[in-house]
Amino acid sequence: MESEKFWNPYLAGIALGVVLLTSFLVMGKGLGASGAANRLGVAVAEVVAPDHVKSNANLATTKGGQASVLDDWLVFEIFGVFIGGAVGAYTAGRFGARVLRGSRVSVPARLALAFSGGLVMGLAARAARGCTSGQALSGGAVMSVGAWIFMLSVFGGGYAAAWFVRRQWS
C-alpha cells in the first residue's frame, strides 16, 4: 500500500536548503531542471534531424563548445535527481507505476493535461532563463531580482489559473 507519510515541511525545506548551499559552495552553481530538459530535446533532435539543429543557431549554440550537448553539469545533476527520487520513493514504499489524478478526471484526460501543462512550462522556463529549481529556488536564495520577479509570478499564475482546472484536483 502506498504510504502518505512525508517529512515535516520545514525540516524537508532545511534539508533542501543544505543541499542547495552545498551546490553553491562546492560547485559555484545552483540546482536546476529545465536546462537539462532543453539539452535532452536538442540531443534527440540531433539524432532525428541533425541538419535542422545545425540550421537553427539557437539549437546549435545550446552545445556551447562541448562535443556533446549532454556533457553538462545540469544533465548529470538531473540524472542524480532521478536516482535520488527513485530511492526515496522505493524506501518509503511509494514506488510503482500509476497515474496520480483527482477522482473526477479520466486517465487519458489527466495525461493530456500533464503533457500540455509540461509544454507550457517548457516555454515559460526558457523565457525566464530557468524554472522553479534553477530560477526561483537557486536565484531566489542568492537574492537575484529577476528570480524574485519570477517566483512571485509563478504563484500569481498558479493561483489565477487554479479556478479553471479545479475539477481536475477535486
Partner: protein, 355 residues
C-alpha cells in the same frame, strides 16, 4: 575566499560531474520525501488545502541564503562573485511573463519541471508525460526564437547581474535578514490558513506545530547571527558587471545586433572580431543605444550599461565557440584540455583570495 572549488569546474571536471550526480541525488531524495513527487499534493498548494510547497520552498531559500551570507561574512566565499555565477541575468519582461506562464503550466500539469522528474522516478506516469511536455516546450521555444520580434521580447528588460541589495542599496545581510523574518511571518500565516481551510480538524496535530516553531526559532537565531557578523569588504563592494567569454560568443551568434564590442587597448595582437578600437577615456561618453556595451581591456570609465569581458582577450581566445567563429572550424572535443596538464584557469590568479 575558499569556495567554490574552482578545480571542480575546470581542472578536474570529471570529479565535478560526480559531485553533480551526488548533489542531484540529495535534491531528488529530499523532494521525494517532502511529497513533491505527487501531483495532488503539489496542486493542493493552489487551493490553500496544503501549503507544503510554500513551506518547503521558503525554508530552503532562507537556509541556503543565510548559509551563503554567513559564509561570505566569515570570508569563506565572495557573495557577489558566487551569486553572479549562480544567478542568471535579470530580464524583467520575459521573467515576469515566464513566471505567470509557468504557474499556469504548474497547476495544469500538477508538477514543476524538477518535480516531474522526481514523479517519473517514483513511477508516476503523469510525471513522465509532464516531463515529456517540458522537453518539447523548451525545444519549441528555440524555434520561436528564430522570429525576430519574439527574440526582441526574449531580450527585453535586460538588467545584467542584479540583486535585491543593488536595488535598495543596503548591505546584503540586511536583505537576507528581512527575507528570513518575512518568511517566518508567512509560515505562521500558512499554518493559520491550513487550519482555517481544513476547518473541522482545527485542533489536530500539536506536535507538528511544536516542530514548526522550533524550526522558526532556529532560523530566527541564524538571521540575527547573519546581521551581527560584520560584512567582509569584498562581499559588499559592488564590482563592475562582467560578461564571460562563452556568454559573449553565444550572443555574437544569436543576436549580434544586440551588442557593441569596444576594445580599449591601443595595440593588441588579437582582438574580438567586429570590435571597435576606442580610447579608454572615450567610453564614458558612449550613449546607451539599447545595445549591451562590452568592453575588452581597461574599463576604468565604463558607463552603467557596459559589461567587461571577464578574463579579457585571453579568455576569449580560449573559448571554444569563439575560436570556432574565428576559424570556421568545429570546436574541439572538451576532454583534451581537461585531461592534459597544460590547461590554464580562465579566471585571474588568486589575488582576490587574500583580500
Amino acid at each position: 575566499m575558499i569556495f567554490p572549488f574552482e578545480s571542480l569546474t575546470h581542472a578536474s571536471r570529471e570529479l565535478g560531474l560526480v559531485a553533480a550526480v551526488l548533489i542531484g541525488i540529495g535534491f531528488g531524495f529530499v523532494l521525494e520525501r517532502a511529497g513533491f513527487g505527487r501531483a495532488p499534493k503539489l496542486a493542493a498548494q493552489f487551493y490553500l488545502r496544503d501549503m507544503t510547497v510554500f513551506k518547503v520552498m521558503f525554508s530552503a531559500i532562507v537556509t541556503a541564503m543565510l548559509g551563503l551570507v554567513i559564509a561570505s561574512s566569515l570570508g569563506l566565499a565572495n557573495l557577489r562573485e558566487i551569486s553572479e555565477s549562480i544567478a542568471s541575468w535579470t530580464y524583467v519582461w520575459p521573467m515576469l511573463f515566464g513566471g505567470l506562464l509557468l504557474g499556469v503550466g504548474f497547476i495544469v500539469s500538477g508538477y514543476c519541471p524538477g518535480t516531474s522528474i522526481v514523479a517519473s522516478a517514483s513511477g508516476n506516469i503523469d510525471g513522465i508525460f509532464a516531463f515529456g511536455g517540458v522537453v518539447v516546450g523548451t525545444f519549441v521555444y528555440s524555434e520561436l526564437l528564430q522570429i525576430p520580434a519574439f527574440h526582441h521580447f526574449h531580450m527585453s528588460g535586460e538588467k545584467g547581474a542584479w540583486f535585491l541589495y543593488d536595488l535598495v542599496h543596503v548591505r546584503p545581510q540586511l536583505i537576507a535578514a528581512v527575507i528570513a523574518l518575512a518568511a517566518l511571518l508567512a509560515f505562521v500565516g500558512a499554518e493559520k490558513v491550513e487550519r482555517w481551510i481544513s476547518g473541522a480538524s482545527a485542533n489536530a496535530a500539536p506536535p507538528h506545530r511544536k516542530i514548526a516553531f522550533a524550526t522558526i526559532g532556529t532560523v530566527a537565531i541564524a538571521a540575527v547571527v547573519a546581521i551581527a557578523l560584520p560584512a567582509s569588504a569584498p562581499a559588499s563592494t559592488p564590482r563592475n558587471a562582467t560578461i564571460t567569454a562563452s556568454e559573449l560568443s553565444q550572443r555574437v551568434v544569436e543576436a549580434p545586433w544586440s551588442i557593441r564590442i569596444v576594445d580599449t587597448r591601443a595595440k593588441a595582437a588579437e582582438r574580438v572580431r567586429g570590435s571597435e578600437v576606442l580610447d579608454a577615456n572615450a567610453i564614458a561618453e558612449l550613449p546607451d543605444d539599447g545595445r549591451t556595451l562590452v568592453i575588452v581591456g581597461d574599463a576604468r570609465h565604463m558607463p552603467r550599461h557596459a559589461r567587461v569581458l571577464a578574463g579579457g582577450i585571453g579568455a576569449w581566445t580560449r573559448d571554444p565557440l569563439a575560436r570556432a567563429l574565428a576559424t570556421g572550424a568545429p570546436p574541439p572535443p572538451p576532454s583534451a584540455p581537461a585531461a592534459g596538464g597544460a590547461f590554464t584557469k580562465p579566471k585571474k590568479k588568486g589575488g582576490g583570495c587574500s583580500a
